[in-house]
């Protein structure tokens, strides 16, 4: 079921959060690819922060600034080599005020 369009956008949700962004040092990287794997493509729906998107050329892209560090993409895409997943440097990344 697609619920698209009816609800508050993820980007608006992320505005409420506190982040310390480590500019230029993304902690997750996508391996260059021609055609994305099924799991990598699924991340465009699954990432709770909407970090993954499909470019016009068909590849999956990632902007990790809003990442909530949940690890879902790591569980689905690290083993296959689709992505590399690291923690942000100590003190950086999402900083939950409540959690």
């Amino acid at each position: 079921m697609s619920l698209e369009g009816q609800f508050q956008k993820v980007e608006e949700k992320l505005f409420q959060n506190r982040y310390m962004v480590d500019s230029g040092q993304p902690h997750i990287r996508i391996t260059p690819h021609d055609k994305p794997s099924k799991n990598l493509l699924a991340m465009t729906h699954l990432c709770p922060a909407g970090c993954y998107s499909v470019a016009e050329s068909g590849q999956v892209e990632l902007t990790a600034d809003g990442c909530l560090e949940c690890g879902t993409c790591r569980v689905l895409c690290e083993e296959s080599g689709d992505i590399t997943w690291n923690y942000p440097r100590g003190g950086y990344g999402i900083l939950f005020k409540f959690g």
Binding site: M1, Q6, L46, L68, T72, V75, R89, G90, L95, F96
Partner: protein, 435 residues
């Protein structure tokens, strides 16, 4: 950076790590605790219900000082369809006892407090410090860690891996596997702020009393998952989580699932007019007993979520984390007091003590539950809620139809949806997994 050698290094200042650090430091061990967040709790998410008994076993007088939100006097279970919920509410004045049994907490506040208790007992806590690698000697014994701070490795007799469900260290050193998509649920959660009086009026509570709602049904779109609504002092936590494998198969967006849950006619009035101040996401280990990895080895032990020590059926995690951290601390202290090495043979004591505790006994009891919930997701989370809702509607709607016909209709619907054997089979499977 740090030249001295520690008795133990604890990775993480969450529930398990804080319990382990506190237990060891209060027994005089030299403990270093590493936390990658700016402060303890800044990376952690919980609903969150705190079970008092397990914390009491670590800090008996915690009620005087710990940041607690509301003591829980009411538990609701909701079986949901698109427009309805069939509920069971359990409220008991006895829960207003002198030492209440359950509280809601806010993790960033609670973890800071808990870590401070360990520090007061002498543990050294370094925040904003990510442990990036375990150091092993020539025999494969873990002897310390490397961090992302400048300076060399830090050494210790034993490393306590309390790094949470998404911990990288254990997996990188092949001490435990990375969890699979069937073994973890992804939960998203929002904090909705409202004046305390409004919360109390909406949930029928006196001040400091709290209520929690666990919800299952069509809200998870046929996936294995649950929603929750927990009352804090000045906020309501609203969230929903489903197995990652189900999310992947259904290509459903978690944030949209949460939005739909919030808009449900039974939920919306509870949070109407609130100010949302945070949106969080976190994994929950749901693999159960069969997914528990090796929990100890040469120079290391694993506690809490990192070891899949989480009871998804009862929504218990932090208490298992705390208890496993405490037991690990006690076991390490015993080995240390005997002046014996922190090798696998001696650290097996941790697993032995854990086997005898509620942690592994409970998880063993429900060992078949995760598989059942997974393979029967459509029936349990879509078909049955709809059947129950229809049965309730047949029961309460007065519309001139003879009762006997309505009862027949209810029975026919159940039979049609699952078949007589399906019904018996479902009941049997559920009973067996529950036993």
């Amino acid at each position: 950076m740090i030249d001295e050698k520690f008795d133990a290094i604890v990775i993480g200042a969450g529930m398990a790590g804080n319990a382990a650090a506190y237990t060891m430091a209060s027994r005089g061990l030299k403990v270093l605790q590493l936390e990658r967040g700016e402060y303890p709790g800044s990376k952690n998410v919980q609903g969150g219900i705190l079970y008092a008994d397990m914390l009491e076993k670590i800090i008996p007088e915690f009620r005087n000082e710990a940041p607690l939100e509301r003591r829980l006097i009411e538990q609701r279970f909701w079986f949901m369809t698109d427009k309805a919920h069939t509920g069971m509410h359990y409220r008991n004045e006895d829960f207003n006892e002198e030492k209440p049994n359950r509280y809601t907490i806010i993790r960033s506040q609670f973890d800071r407090w808990f870590a401070r208790q360990a520090q007061e007992k002498g543990a050294i806590l370094l925040c904003e410090t990510t442990a990036i690698e375990l150091i092993q000697d020539a025999y494969g014994k873990v002897v310390g860690v490397r961090t992302d701070r400048s300076g060399g490795p830090i050494h210790a007799d034993v490393v306590v891996l309390a790094e949470g469900v998404n911990g990288l260290l254990g997996a990188r050193s092949d001490l435990r596997p990375r969890p699979t998509a069937q073994q973890v649920a992804l939960a998203v959660k929002e904090m909705h702020f409202l004046p305390p009086e409004v919360i109390e009026a909406r949930f029928n509570l006196k001040s400091d009393e709290g209520a929690v709602i666990e919800a299952a049904g069509t809200i998870s779109n046929g996936m294995t998952g649950m929603g929750f609504i927990y009352t804090n002092k000045e906020s309501i936590s609203v969230g929903i989580g489903c197995l990652v494998s189900d999310f992947a198969e259904n290509e459903t967006s978690p944030s949209e699932l949460l939005e739909a849950f919030k808009k449900h006619p039974s939920v919306a009035p509870l949070i109407a007019g609130s100010e949302v101040k945070e949106y969080a996401a976190h994994l929950i280990p749901e693999g159960g007993y069969k997914a528990i990895p090796q929990l100890f080895g040469n120079g290391w032990v694993i506690c809490g979520d990192a070891g899949q020590l989480n009871n998804a059926i009862h929504r218990e995690g932090s208490n298992l984390a705390m208890t496993s951290g405490r037991i690990a601390g006690e076991a390490i202290f015993q080995v240390k007091s005997r002046r014996e090495p922190m090798n696998a043979d001696n650290l097996a004591l941790y697993k032995k003590m854990l086997d005898e505790s509620f942690v592994l006994k409970d998880l063993k009891k429900y060992k078949d539950m995760p598989e059942l919930l997974h393979t029967q997701a459509q029936n349990l989370f879509l078909t049955y809620p709809q059947l129950v809702s229809k049965a309730m509607e047949n029961f309460v709607r007065v519309d001139g139809k003879p009762k006997i016909e309505k009862e027949k209709d209810t029975v026919t619907r159940f039979r049609k949806a699952r078949g007589t054997f399906g019904l018996i089979g479902d009941a049997f499977r559920l009973a067996r997994a529950w036993r």
